[in-house]
Amino acid sequence: MDYHPWLPNLDYENEMIREIGVNSIDDLFKDIPEEIKLKRLLNVGYSKPLSEYEIYLRLLELENKNTKLRMPPFLGGGVCPHYVPEAVKFVISRSEFYTSYTPYQPEISQGLLQALFEYQSLMADLLEMEVVNSSMYEWGSALAEAVLMAYRINGKKKVVIPASINPYHKKVLETWTYGKEIKIKEIPYTNEGKINLEVAEKEIDEETSAVYIQQPNFFGIFETDIEEIVDLAKKKGAITIMGVNPLSLSLIKPPGEYDIDIAVGDGQELGLPLNFGGPYMGIFATKWDGKLVRQMPGRLVGLTTDSEGKRGYTLILQTREQFTRREKATSNITTNEALMAIANAVYISLLGKSGLRKLAEEIYKRSHYALLEFEKKGIGKRKFNSDFFEEFTVSFPISYGKIHENLKARGIYGGLKISDNDAIFCVTEVHTKRMIDEMIEEVKKIVETS
């Protein structure tokens, strides 16, 4: 191999060896015991370096092995199909952003720092929380970090969560808190699909480190007793954590209006593609309280001035972080989702105040329309009689599994099955009325022919 586009020095090897003053490249590896040296090529990739065109053909082959759908899937579960504006993709494709790294040298990283500061600021205003870090991995890990943070603050090991929590987040929470032996208690939901306040009153006690509320919850339903839960938690000295879909916050009360301690969520719904699981964008925010801020995980960008008094941005409160504090750090996180935070900032800026509201309203309307159509056509009814956003649960007269497979065969991907006859559907701005009608029409045919 005497050249490769990504290995510029192959043909310089002898020259550099000479300059180094050794006899052969092996001399640079003489400290590696012979018995562990690999004496063969690694068996990876295909048999040779592929050209770009061959890579393109391979990717096309993979793409064609995925099922082509006629319309975006009606799937939610914490991440939903949305339209990603070209301007968002364009900005985050800028070399200066996407080939950079953590802005350890602020003087040469002002663009990134300001963009992250703007993300923090825009998200702070959406949440009405003062301090937002510049990203966690995703909602699940943000929630886990919030629970670990509460434990660091009050040393208690019991965390109370609703049974209507997103189950995928719950699994992450369980794993991440396994090391600290955190105990997780669930509050069941009512027939209306909301937190059972009576049980909550019993479950939230002096032992409780933190109480988690998800709004809207896994079923898409708006919780309406958040004030009450927050009151209960405060009385018992527990930290309140609220998980939010940021897209809904132009319509409903943000965590700040409930005086929540920590807010978490995912920025996926603000301009990120589904990406089969990631990268997404974990939101993590606290209110203006030093006790909280100093225990916060993740990176923070702050405003300051330079030696000439000019405004500038830099990483702040770094003594919380692992690279300075090691085992005393507030988290082990270092590589995060900064570029996704910028995508969020661009997205929020593009929509602006009015656009965010318009989009939320449109999604609200379309998802309600879809449920109403299911009901009108007599092929499904709502499982919970509560207001909802983006996602809703439908009970079908026949097995949903059957509906699902038949829809799939027709190039349509339905909702998420949660029990034999029930499924959660997600409807957003990417589902046109025509698509919704077509999907429901197909479901009708399936139900009627079975």
Binding site: K48, T99, L112, E257, A329, A338
Partner: protein, 496 residues
């Protein structure tokens, strides 16, 4: 430019919107219960598309990335990110992670191949791609160790960590409830075997090690270290952050490591995007592979399916990890091929030692154990310069910024005073290495001639050195525009 904040671009008195929201003619009333309606107006600016795009493009011009110049950030492996990786989005972009396996066979096939290839490269038996970044991989690994010992009913509460380790190692151990025991390095910068032997006991859960270590030195006693740890049923954990230095040369599995995490974004050139997103994998050998986070992609009767290891620690991410980036690493491996991948450790080591040969005798710098070859990176100390002229590693870093380079990692690892940690990677051409050497030499010469001038750098950047006290002080700390606004209104005060 002096680019204002996005909030300052808009008076918010006029109606603007940067994108049209699609609207359907649907007769549904918004009927949200009064109790939960948002009360306060959104404080978000309204702008046209041009204003948003221009703002962020202008900001981008005030930032530095690998596409603009060498970023010799030690332990960060800032490789060039081949543009062909941009072709990957169509394979994954619009697929929902909750879709049935039969609808995403292409993605699963890619994941399956990656799992196999990563196992081959590390000498492990199996890999999981659940890991969004390196630190999450460490957490997964340490939790695996925890569950492993627990399953075996062993009481183990101590995690050993080399004093040269990345800060994430102790942090991950602590997050998992371990007591962290540091192993001091010997004079050569390697794990001190005698100390290790003393420290190891029946409470030892394992040892977290990166090899080559953060000084770029290969732990040549690795087989003995492995024996010591395994002699007390400890687990040997490999921090993959430094894998680049030995890729194709030696495999952690063959050294005795039981668990390995990989930073795909480093070793396989996925753009790190201003701090992330990254992508990772966690791999294990023998018994421990049954503790891996789920799911693992398997092949059954020609179809790809998801499998859960029997003793799994659970899930690290809600879905499958950063698949959008895993596929970029996949493309990198395709493009390098077995021949190219097998050259990575060699060529990155060649570049490092070339730098060393040109810099080791430069006045002002010193090097621990100069006779030892380094692998992917090298740590110089600028202590002689500090002693001679009062110029610090930080000053050198800032002077580099003025000259078209990003700075090395500084003040890490802690055992080297005034550390300058340089990792060139194999993707920087010799021409650039030569330029970097020349530039660093000039700075050191200048430091001796006119130290004050170097202390005044950077001059050519968009801002000068920043006031860190103001940035962090409880009375002035400003983590959002909201804080600025509320502080001006007197609504919020000192951060207590």
């Amino acid at each position: 430019w002096d680019e204002p904040l996005i909030y300052e671009l808009s008076s918010n008195k006029k109606r603007k919107q940067g994108i049209i929201i699609p609207e359907e003619n649907i007769d549904v009333k918004i009927d949200i219960p009064e109790k939960i309606k948002r009360k306060n107006d959104l404080e978000i600016p309204e702008l046209s598309e041009l204003e948003v795009v221009r703002h962020f493009i202008r900001l981008s011009q005030q930032n530095f990335g690998v596409d603009l110049g060498m970023m010799p950030l030690g332990s960060c492996t800032m490789k060039y990110n081949p543009k062909v990786e941009e072709l990957t989005s169509r394979v994954v972009e619009n697929y929902h992670p909750l879709q049935d396996e039969d609808t995403v066979q292409g993605i699963l096939e890619m994941m399956y191949e990656m799992q196999k290839w990563l196992a081959e490269m590390t000498g492990m038996d199996e890999c999981s791609l659940q890991i969004p970044a390196g630190a999450a991989g460490e957490l997964a690994g340490v939790l695996m160790i925890k569950k492993y010992h627990k399953t075996k009913n062993r009481e183990r509460d101590e995690m050993l960590v080399a004093d040269t380790a990345h800060g994430t190692n102790p942090a991950s151990a602590a997050m998992s409830g371990y007591k962290v025991i540091y192993i001091k390095s010997n004079q050569e910068g390697l794990v001190d075997i005698d100390i290790l032997k003393e420290v190891v006991n029946s409470k030892t859960a394992g040892l977290m090690l990166t090899n080559p270590n953060t000084l770029g030195l290969f732990e040549e006693n690795i087989l003995e270290i492995s024996k010591i740890i395994h002699s007390v049923d400890g687990v040997l954990y490999y921090d993959g952050a430094n894998l680049n230095g030995i890729l194709g040369i030696a495999r952690p599995g063959d050294m005795g490591f039981d668990i390995v995490h990989i930073n795909l974004h480093k070793t396989f050139a996925v753009p790190h995007g201003g701090g992330g997103p990254g992508a990772g994998a966690i791999c294990a050998k023998g018994e421990l592979k049954e503790y891996l986070p789920y799911p693992i992609v398997d092949k059954e009767g020609g179809k790809y399916v998801l499998r859960t290891p029997v003793k799994t620690i659970g899930k690290i991410a809600s879905f499958y990890g950063n698949i959008g980036n895993v596929i970029r690493a996949y493309v990198y491996i395709l493009g390098l091929g077995p021949q190219g991948v097998s050259q990575v450790g060699k060529m990155s080591t060649l570049a490092t030692n070339y730098l060393i040969s040109k810099l080791k005798d430069v006045k002002g710098l010193e090097l621990l154990a100069p006779h030892r070859p380094r692998k992917h990176e090298v740590v110089f100390s600028a202590k002689p310069l500090l002693n001679d002229k009062g110029v610090t590693a930080l000053d050198i870093a800032k002077a580099l910024l003025d000259r078209g380079f990003y700075a090395p990692t500084i003040y890490f690892p802690g055992i080297i005073e005034e550390a300058l940690m340089i990792e060139p990677t194999e993707t920087e051409p010799k021409e650039t290495l030569d330029k970097f050497i020349e530039t660093l030499k000039e700075i050191l010469e200048e430091s001796y001639k006119d130290p004050e001038k170097i202390r005044q750098t950077p001059q050519n950047t968009s801002v000068k050195r920043l006031d860190q006290v103001k940035a962090n002080h409880p009375t002035s700390v400003t983590p959002s525009y909201r804080v600025l606004r509320l502080r001006e209104k007197g609504v919020i005060k000192i951060l207590k």
